[in-house]
């Protein structure tokens, strides 16, 4: 079976000006959203207390809010989580209560207030300083990953490809973050992990394309760099699609079956895979082309034997 039956080379690069505008617009929108809406940072980064409880019957959120404010927690955010019987209560860090005792206290209040048997599902408490540290570490991790990858790709390929693929990665990460900011989805540690996985995935795609471009520059003797890039993209298109499909299939499984805890993770990866597929075709290759990639840059240098030029001088 074949999904794509391409007889002719698709002129991908012809549309690269549109792609540049499209990407630039999306990136600008993401930055705008990140600046105005900011990211909805989860407990991992903000610090505070989160309590997830399971009720025997469908939970009455207003009743729970009432119990919370009756006990002096007016700022408690009470939400359903996953099902109608699961409730998540978020509390900000407070000066007057020992934060690490808060979770157990809230459980007691709810137990007494509702008269129901409450199942403690999860209590998370993160101190403010830890949250800052995690945010710092997370940013550092992303930066380190990008730099290491830049170095590896520059070493294995060529600096134009390296720059192209790192910009593509930056593009993917920015758009994924932009989506999280725009939809105000919670950004926690698992989402951060997903974004690093997006870096890995998107790069995978870009490398496959770059690899083929390099191969074709050596193999195909005629044609402009643009033609060669078009040919390479066409040749790898089937693979790009199929891998995206299989990855999207498993992500769909995670999204629908993985439970509420994995939801953010799956969302980030779904977005990342979409953007990553697009960026490996348009962003990385267009940048390499714009930077003036040519045949000479990619044909391996012939290392001359020592003394090879001296032979000619001999009679």
């Amino acid at each position: 079976m074949q999904i794509l039956k391409l007889k002719e080379t698709v002129a991908f690069m012809k549309y690269r000006k549109f792609a540049v505008v499209f990407s630039a617009l999306l990136m600008a929108a993401s930055i705008f959203s990140l600046v105005t809406n900011k990211l909805n940072f989860g407990l991992d980064f903000t610090g505070g207390t989160l309590i997830e409880v399971g009720f025997e019957q469908a939970a009455d959120l207003n009743e729970i809010r009432g119990i919370m404010s009756a006990n002096g927690f007016d700022d408690a955010v009470v939400q359903l989580y996953g099902s109608s019987r699961d409730v998540v209560i978020r509390l900000a860090t407070r000066a007057d209560v020992k934060a690490e005792m808060l979770g157990n206290q809230v459980l007691e209040y709810l137990q007494a207030g509702t008269g129901q048997n409450i199942d403690m599902r999860r209590i998370e408490f993160v101190g403010a300083s830890v949250g800052d540290e995690l945010a710092e570490q997370g940013g550092l991790a992303m930066l380190t990953a990008l730099i290491c990858i830049l170095v590896y790709v520059a070493f294995r390929f060529e600096w134009r490809f390296a720059l192209g693929s790192v910009i593509a990665l930056f593009h993917d990460v920015l758009l994924t973050l932009g989506l999280f900011s725009f939809l105000q989805l919670e950004f926690d540690l698992t989402v951060l992990a997903a974004i690093l996985a997006v870096i890995g995935y998107s790069l995978n795609d870009t490398i496959v394309v770059s690899d083929r471009i390099r191969e074709n520059f050596v193999k195909i003797r005629v044609g402009s760099p643009e033609d060669i890039i078009n040919t390479s993209l066409t040749q790898t298109l089937a693979r790009t699609f199929i891998t995206s499909i299989t990855t999207l299939l498993v992500l769909a499984a995670l999204f629908f079956k993985g439970g509420a805890l994995i939801h953010g993770f799956a969302t980030a990866l779904l977005m990342g895979v979409f953007v990553g597929t697009y960026s490996s075709v348009y962003v990385a290759s267009s940048i390499a082309l714009a930077l003036g990639i040519s045949k000479e840059d990619l044909i391996p240098e012939v290392i001359e034997k020592e003394g090879a030029d001296q032979e000619q001088m001999m009679p």
Binding site: E52, D119, M120, T190, G200, A238, I262
Partner: protein
């Protein structure tokens, strides 16, 4: 001939996959409910204990599946949880004061498998349920204490050398000693410098001060020591909690991770972990004027503290002994049936106590209980500021020269004496600690997570399986075989590596690997199709397809591996779990997708004359 593997290569592939399957197999066996018994405070667990446990169980008609001693622990397995719970309660009542009796689930791995190192995967707290804490050591306080003890040393040393000084005090992060003349300053400097090579001395002739600072090295050592001491003490405290397989581990420069699987009652755990209390024994200043001190004129060498009932006491600043010399403490009743705390010291503590009390018999000695309570304020470096609360818990007259063992009476009610003993026993911290992060997962959520993760893996696997079958037909089957082998090998490797823990994000990592692992096969198969379209023979196409795709696969996987390894390096807890499965998945998938499928393809299609290929 093209596309034929030598026999050894095919066998090697089979053997590697078989080993993976073998080590993955312990995960198929369930777990037995068990009770784990280990001695507290150095009480040995030996054959006699084993007999005692057996007789306790036999006498009460509790049937057990097996009972063995391993690694100085006794492990009793039961057939059902009811017997297990009965046994725990019984043993806790009878030998609970000397032994820690903990509920546990032990893998029901068959003996032959266990003997070759086969164990099931370790489940993270988000899957097994339990609580994890992140504790932060207050390093500022550790440095403060080290400086205070230096000040004491300087005073004693200079006095011993008969060098006269005016004052010794702390100024910012340095200690300044004031002298009366330049000669004293010079001799003090040469004397102290000889004694403390890890300090920086700087003398100022004009103001006659000697300023002493700790070197970076010394500061680092002090912090390191504070962290290590805290880890040791927390280990002891955690052991007192009676938890099976607790984990206490350092993380970074000032954090300690504590994982208590299966613990539900986090309040008790927190109370014990959080009690950052220490004890100091000091002499009461009987010469000082208490009423003058109450009006604010406290003598320089003394300090005004209060007892629990508000009664003021004037104490000497000099600390006779600190709590870190305490080896053991217990509560009992004295001859008048009053609660008392019995204390045993280490030998250094014993001689300190003996020196401190020999000239002070008949004088009152106070036990000061010092608690550090974290406040919500932070200093410039983002460290939590701790409030030091000092309270005199007992004033007792020194009846005799005290040695390594002595007792304190009048510590309050029996339960207070018991609590005090528990705190003393668990050790005293040189630097206070605070819980900065807590994650508790209830057992229902844990079980649910396992189920959800398992379902997601199965569903993702099934979808990819179907897709590959439809899209690549016969070659799809080969890719699916590789996928299956890959899954088995991930589980096998995860079970083999002792430190690897399966978490919910880790399960997501496995799902993701399933989706991405087929990429290598897609690359190869698409390449084979291309070659066939280009008019090459079937065997040529297979050969070329594998060859040409190889370097691409390596490059693509190495870069993903870089991302995964960085995630592993900076990530904690569940995130680390994700990085682990992702990294393992990348490596195993390269093996199964490139070498594994090649072996199958070569065995089925290799070396034959073929006109068409089912791809």
């Amino acid at each position: 001939m093209l596309n034929k593997y030598p026999l050894w290569k095919t066998l090697l592939v089979l053997v590697i996959v078989a080993i993976g399957a073998l080590y993955a197999s312990p995960n198929l066996y369930g777990e037995d409910p068990a009770v784990q018994i280990s001695g507290l405070r150095g009480i040995p667990t030996d054959a006699a204990t084993l007999d005692m446990v057996k007789s306790h169980l036999d006498d009460n008609n509790i049937s057990y599946a097996s009972i063995v001693m391993e690694d100085e622990q006794i492990l009793a397995r039961f057939r059902d949880t009811e017997q297990q719970l009965r046994a725990r309660d019984l043993l806790d009542d009878n030998i609970g004061d000397q032994y820690s009796v903990a509920l546990n689930l032990t893998p029901a791995t068959p003996k032959w498998l266990a003997s070759i190192g086969g164990t099931p995967m370790k489940l993270g707290l988000d899957l097994s349920g339990g609580v994890s804490f992140l504790m932060e050591v207050n390093m500022n306080e550790a440095i403060n204490k080290a400086q205070e003890s230096l000040i004491d040393d300087f005073r004693a040393g200079l006095r011993g050398e008969k060098i006269r000084y005016r004052t010794v005090k702390r100024v910012n992060d340095a200690i300044e000693i004031q002298f009366r003349n330049a000669a004293d300053l010079a001799s003090a400097e040469s004397f102290l410098e000889k004694q403390n090579r890890d300090l920086l001395f700087q003398s100022d002739e004009d103001s006659l001060t000697l300023s002493v600072k700790m070197t970076e090295q010394k500061l680092k050592e002090t912090r390191e020591y504070a962290l290590q001491q805290n880890i040791t003490i927390i280990r002891n405290r955690v052991n007192e909690l009676g938890v099976a397989e607790p984990l206490v581990q350092r993380q970074g420069k000032k954090h300690i991770v504590i994982e208590l699987p299966g613990v539900q009652d986090t309040a008790k755990a927190k109370e014990i972990l959080n009690a950052t209390a220490t004890i100091e024994f000091r002499l009461v200043d009987t010469d000082g004027d208490l009423s003058a001190a109450l009006n604010g004129r406290v003598p320089g060498s003394s300090q005004l503290l209060r007892e629990r009932n508000g009664q003021p006491v004037l104490l000497k600043k000099r600390v006779m002994l600190t709590g870190d010399h305490i080896i053991d403490a217990g509560s009992s009743f004295d001859e008048y049936s009053r609660p008392q705390v019995n204390i045993t010291l280490d030998s250094a503590g014993g001689s300190k106590m003996s020196n401190g009390t020999k000239n002070n018999i008949g004088k009152p000695m106070a036990t000061v209980f010092i608690e550090y309570k974290p406040t919500d304020r932070v200093d410039a470096n983002g460290n939590t500021i701790f409030e030091k609360i000092e309270e005199v818990i007992s004033v007792a007259t020194i009846q005799a020269r005290l040695g390594k063992t002595f007792r304190i009476t009048g510590a309050g009610s029996q339960s207070e004496a018991h609590n005090l003993a528990l705190l003393l026993r668990a050790g005293a911290l040189i630097a206070p600690i605070q819980i900065v992060e807590e994650r508790t997962v209830g057992p229902t959520l844990g079980a649910e997570n396992v189920q959800l993760g398992f379902q997601a893996i199965m569903m993702g696997f099934g979808l990819v399986f179907l897709f590959m079958l439809v899209y690549y037909r016969a070659f799809g089957i080969v890719a699916n075989l590789a996928l299956g082998a890959n899954l088995v090998m991930i589980v096998g490797v995860m079970s083999m590596i002792p430190g690897a823990t399966l978490t919910l994000p880790g399960m997501a990592g496995i799902v993701l690997t399933v989706g991405m692992a087929v990429d290598a096969n897609v690359l190869i198969f698409e390449r084979i199709r291309e070659e066939i379209r280009a008019g090459k023979s079937v065997q040529q196409s297979i050969h070329q397809g594998y060859d040409a795709a190889f370097s691409t696969i390596i490059d693509a996987n190495i870069t993903t591996l870089i991302a995964a390894l960085i995630l592993f390096a900076v990530g904690t807890g569940p995130i680390k779990g994700f990085a682990v499965t992702l990294s393992i998945g990348i490596v195993t998938s390269m093996f199964t997708a490139v070498i594994g499928t090649r072996a199958v393809v070569n065995a089925v299609w290799g070396g034959k004359r073929l006109d068409k290929l089912s791809i």
